[in-house]
């Protein structure tokens, strides 16, 4: 889990570049206080947990303080002007709580499956509910954001395979497939762990591979959660009867 959180924090390296670039400017839109615009504090709290995470390789006693650092650092970043919008910090926040829970509750293995499933359901729900709107159902949003000119292998391939007049229809199908897969992921969370966790991990992997390499900052933690759920897991039926 720690490895996944370190990767999540390192993938969007451009945010560090932005922090340095914007250090000589002040943006005041009447929302963020000076604490949550502080450049130095941002850099410190951004970098500290990954450093601690790497040190846990050499000193396992750091696992609990590192998990706590992840939780508080993620919360701070979710309230900071540079990073409030990044879903990476949402997943590292919950992953930090999950890690701390695992460290303090090693005897509650039967609850690990429930918690892992809930974390994954919550993550997928966050994507599904906001897409139940005409712009996503007819593919217009994805068409505008990705299909017209996004330079990424999957969209470059689709633009090479289809005429530009066909792309809105392709975007419609693509958008509905994404929605269907996310809904399926939520429903699958109620079935056997041998199927659900590998399937959901594959789903999250596909999201990053097919859309944006930077999405690995968001999907790495859910993949790790699914892996842990698979390894330390019972089916809901076994939990009920145990």
């Amino acid at each position: 889990m720690t490895v996944a959180m370190v990767i999540s924090r390192l993938v969007p390296y451009y945010i560090i570049q932005d922090a340095f670039e914007f250090s000589n400017s002040n943006l005041d839109i009447g929302f963020f206080t000076s604490l949550f615009k502080n450049n130095d504090l941002f850099l410190l709290l951004y970098c500290l947990p990954p450093i601690m995470g790497i040190l846990t390789i050499f000193k396992s006693a750091l696992l609990k303080p590192t998990a706590i650092a992840w939780i508080f650092s993620s919360l701070f970043l979710l309230w900071h002007q540079y990073s409030y919008n990044d879903a990476t910090h949402v997943v590292t926040f919950w992953s930090g709580i999950f890690t701390l829970w695992l460290l303090y509750h090693p005897a509650e293995k039967s609850n690990t499956s429930i918690i892992a499933r809930l974390l994954l359901i919550m993550t997928l729900c966050g994507g599904v509910t906001g897409k139940l709107t005409p712009g996503y159902l007819n593919g217009e949003i994805l068409y505008e954001i990705y299909f017209i000119s996004r330079d990424f292998w999957s969209y470059n391939l689709l633009r090479s395979l289809f005429h530009h007049q066909q792309l809105p229809e392709v975007a419609l199908v693509y958008s509905r497939i994404i929605l269907a897969i996310e809904c399926t992921g939520i429903l699958l969370a109620f079935i056997n762990h041998r199927i659900v966790f590998p399937l959901i991990a594959t789903l999250f992997l596909a999201i990053a591979v097919l859309n944006n390499w930077f999405l690995f900052s968001v999907v790495t933690c859910p993949i790790a959660i699914a892996t842990i759920g698979f390894l330390i897991s019972k089916t809901p039926k076994q939990i009920y009867h145990s």
């Binding site: 451009y14 400017s25 929302f31 090693p106 005897a107 994507g127 954001i145």
Partner: protein, 145 residues
Amino acid sequence: MQASTKTSPYTIAFITSMILCVIFQVAIAVFPQAAEFAMKRFHLTTDHKTIWALTQVIPSMYNFENKVKIEEIFDNNEASSYEFYVNHYPARMITGGSGRRHLLKRSNSKVTLESSYRDVSVTTTYHLKLRVTADGKKHLTIGDN
């Protein structure tokens, strides 16, 4: 000796917090007021920052139809503009990345954020003025309408 597998209160709290997040996410699809609040969250215009802060931990990726329009206002009141869709948090076009980079080169800008979810839509306009102080630091602040 068998280890105790009794569910601790922390486990119950952990599970409850996730269920509350899912309830909020589902509420967006069911109640227009929840959708409106969630879109205001994206625009940084919620009435209470504490509630904004608490809801920041709720996953919300690729939510709503978000459009950003950036206009540069010249001294003769003419304007040049362009607009585009973003996946979430349209206000990030002001606070960071390429959007902020662009605004830091314009002395007078108007940024209009529009988020829609079925029949609900939220529009927010930020009028921004850029000034450079004697120490060379750039300040982008809310200007007059």
